[in-house]
Symmetry: C2
Subunit: 120 residues, 2 copies
């Protein structure tokens, strides 16, 4: 299935986020080999150049590294992945609270709304 890439921000950014999620959620484990640039591009339904840009950006954070001709691999640093997961969570929660506060809700009201939502 082609990835869901339509939500405003540049596709290569969405690809980065998608891959980060695949890594922190365990789809790719530390040391795993990633599919090739071309395969990932085909899977995502984008141009190989776009996938390459996303991957080389990801690489600059150290989350993945490439062995020149044998492929690209997930970092084996468990801590880096754990920290990324925590950081992604924090970003989501903060973004959510900021948005809701802009809409005029207090912290307590937000908590109440979340309670309601998680009960249905």
């Amino acid at each position: 299935m082609p990835w869901n890439l339509n939500s405003g921000s540049p596709i290569f950014v969405q690809i980065i986020e998608h891959l980060q999620i695949d890594i922190v959620s365990g789809k790719y484990k530390p040391g795993d080999k990633l599919p090739s640039v071309r395969d990932l591009a085909g899977e995502a339904g984008v141009n190989p150049n776009t996938m390459q840009k996303a991957l080389s950006d990801l690489e600059s954070t150290g989350l993945v590294h490439s062995e020149r001709t044998s492929g690209r691999f997930i970092t084996e640093d468990d801590n880096m992945i754990k920290n990324l997961r925590k950081s992604l969570v924090d970003v989501q929660i903060e973004k959510f609270f900021k948005s809701m506060e802009k809409l005029g809700f207090t912290g307590e009201e937000i908590l109440e709304l979340v309670k309601e939502y998680s009960q249905k």
Copy 2:
């Protein structure tokens, strides 16, 4: 203060969201006159054309309407504003839950994290 317009999606989309929030949060009340296109553009720090695009898009939803030469006004339909507010809230909550579930959290875990966050 210039608006905070840097988060990936096109500026005119962010302007639309910004204005919607200003309306549902009560900064602009039903029937209020909006500042002129040029003033809003100056306030937001964007080109008047960009602001115009955002406003004419907003207009197509009925939330604002323009009186050809005297200015642009917020709708007087209270219900439309209420519904928009509810819809914006729903979107935020759903987006948040989807993101968190992608990161591997269950509904209960999400609720727990929100509790923690709202307590500090």
